[in-house]
Point group: C3
């Protein structure tokens, strides 16, 4: 496995060895290329950005990553469901088959239903990168999250991660759990309102991979022990309406900061809608607007380089 990377579909596909021996070192290298203003190693390569759902950060960071490597985004669509032939009922499989004939070197796909990336990969002879498929997975987010943790904490084994908020609909926390399951002595606290608890499939996976986890509904109880606060957003567009989020049990604010370890970090996949108060932004432990964003560009540069060269 991972001897040759063909597609990026789901977080489980990566082994610890690949992450540590190939992906992290290459991402470190990409960081250097970014700081130099880019390079030409993907010169002449062609990327398609094919997004069926809104995304600013994911699409922009992939398109910037391609640019920093000297490649071209030859075709980009923002909302394929509404604006492309998909609106006319075309199946994803036909669409991917057609896009393949145009001669792209990679297709970055955001799909609006779980499982879309796998279907696309089956139909594609060029690499598919899953940029999120419905409430399924968001593996490139998990890769950037994991790289951020490793870079800021210097290690992954043995950490305590609090995942907070709407865990039921959060594909980023799902994908991150799959990756954390590859490491040792990981402990996870799921802090969620009753109506937005982590689904059973992930808990089963964690049990099988010897990741210990607990569930709670008050962030303040566990805050002093946490290494990584991973805050998420209420996905109103997926039907969740968590009034409990308003009560403060799930919000990262000055009070939580005061009780948290100096060595902890605070992450969020963004966009936030109040789950982290503005006073947190300037705290040195907050990485959601800085290192975590940077990691998005660096890791996506590494993914493109691996898949295309």
């Amino acid at each position: 496995m991972n001897a040759e990377l063909r597609h990026i579909i789901e977080a489980q596909q990566f082994s610890r060895e690949w992450l540590e021996n190939e992906f992290f070192p290459l991402t470190d290298e990409m960081r250097g290329i970014f700081k130099q203003g880019g390079c030409d190693i993907l010169s002449g390569k062609r990327m398609i950005s094919f997004f069926y759902e809104p995304s600013t950060r994911t699409r922009a960071s992939f398109e910037f990553a391609m640019d920093y490597l000297g490649g071209n985004v030859v075709f980009s669509t923002e909302n394929a469901t509404q604006f492309s032939s998909v609106a006319k009922g075309e199946t994803l499989r036909d669409t991917i088959t057609v896009l393949n004939r145009y001669g792209p070197d990679v297709i970055v796909l955001r799909y609006n239903e779980e499982g879309g990336a796998k279907i696309a990969a089956e139909a594609s002879s060029v690499p598919i990168i899953n940029a999120g498929d419905g409430s399924g997975q968001h593996p490139t987010q998990a890769l950037l999250d994991l790289y951020t943790i490793r870079r800021k904490l210097g290690r992954i084994d043995g950490i305590l991660v609090a995942m907070i908020g709407d865990l039921f609909n959060g594909r980023t926390v799902r994908s991150l759990c799959y990756l954390l399951g590859k490491f040792s002595d990981i402990r996870i606290c799921f802090i969620a309102p009753d109506e937005a608890k982590m689904k059973e499939d992930i808990k089963d996976y964690l049990r099988r991979h010897n990741v210990s986890f607990v569930e709670g509904n008050d962030l303040r109880v566990v805050a002093p022990e946490v290494d990584v606060f991973y805050q998420t957003r209420t996905q109103k567009e997926r039907g969740t309406n968590i009034s409990a989020m308003e009560t403060g049990l799930f919000v990262i604010n000055g009070e939580v900061l005061d009780s948290a370890k100096d060595s902890s970090i605070i992450m969020h996949p963004l966009p936030r809608v109040g789950e982290i108060t503005l006073e947190v932004d300037s705290d040195s432990r907050a990485v959601y607007l800085t290192d975590q964003i940077d990691s998005g560009v660096f890791t996506r540069m590494a993914e493109l380089k691996m898949l295309l060269s």
Copy 2:
């Protein structure tokens, strides 16, 4: 006529001589350039993609075609009706006049009403390519369809073409009829439900050009004689709702394949929504996901080269 190609507005504008002596040979040449990974003959040239209606394939294939020739897509919009000043009531004529001042070398225009391309061409001093105007025409689709037929069958004269489905709203079949009218001994079977028959203007054109045609409502009757199956899609967004399509009289499936000639080909402008069953995809006669798509890139490369160099 066609001594100098200024715009691509409607299928009728092309002569048989131009098609055979200029367009097909140049498209063959473009096929070679594509296989080599592109060239630079349109380096420094600027294209605008201006689409008032959704389209994945048409926009993507034009933008890829421009890229393979070394040109740039400087401005691209997916749904001008909703997102541009058109939403504010600007006339097409003003829009084209304004776009001309920016200095593009070509404007690829998809418009949402019949006749838009002609209006645009009148207002434009740079070439306009009609990428579909409402239920009017889609001449570049007809060119790629004709090139596909010639390449796969080796000839156009004397063929029997079955056009199937929603012929009332299908601009691709309309445009293809105009082109077929330039050739000899063409026979066409229009296979459509009563509520979606080919319009009279096309039938008049065919009569004037000595193309014999018949109308029917069961594909299976004519299948054994057909050289080119040209299946189309029910255009629900234009008001057609053909329940008869469900009955199998108009569907290409294994049964139709069994009775069809080995030398026939099966085409579809895509997207399909069930008019061709999945079992047909792997048949060697099916070209709608292979050669027909490829022809889209090659012919559009030829069109851009003719108009721009």
Copy 3:
């Protein structure tokens, strides 16, 4: 002030000296570069087009301007409100912070509420160009309008400008008033229906800057004296519904042309929806489809060059 241009946020930020000694000469130079087909002075520079509201002309002219200078548009979105994380509730400040981390050299921002550009500039370490923020300002439109006036009339001091139409919602006339206030002996006639009069804040500004103005409701009364007719559009999407526009009191037509000075010019920020009749288009005094559009590209080239090199 203006010693170093960091952002383009509002028309007031520019001094007369800067306009005359730096901006106009540089724009003249850009005109020459455009006519030569472009240059490479911004080679390697990266622009983000981030539009929360529809705009054909503004986005296209900025993207073409960047291209003529050899720079790249690395990320472009047409309607961020609907298609980006903004739809999920992300604040503008977070969005701009994130975009900054990707390493752009400039962000062209169209926002849907007044004051957005200023908020963005506070959060941004790279230049922000305000491409219109709600009913607030549209400073780059004002710069192109002023450049057009100077180029066509040869002067700005001492002119009589008629601003006509929906002045209540017109951000272009607001921004132009701020710029005109920097010059001497300017006279302005606001010709608007009662329900769409110019707001008090602009009138106060003009009084403080010794610009004399009058208000009227019949264009024909003042037409013979006017140097610059600046027609605007009824902004139905902002709630204005001016039936009086239909009566001819506010329309530029052949009758107005006949009474206007030979040396006058007729401007419109476009799109128009009937406020200027088609017979006016071919009059040599009409610049809204010619010089005014050209000025949009030239001035935006100058803005990008100033901010980026």
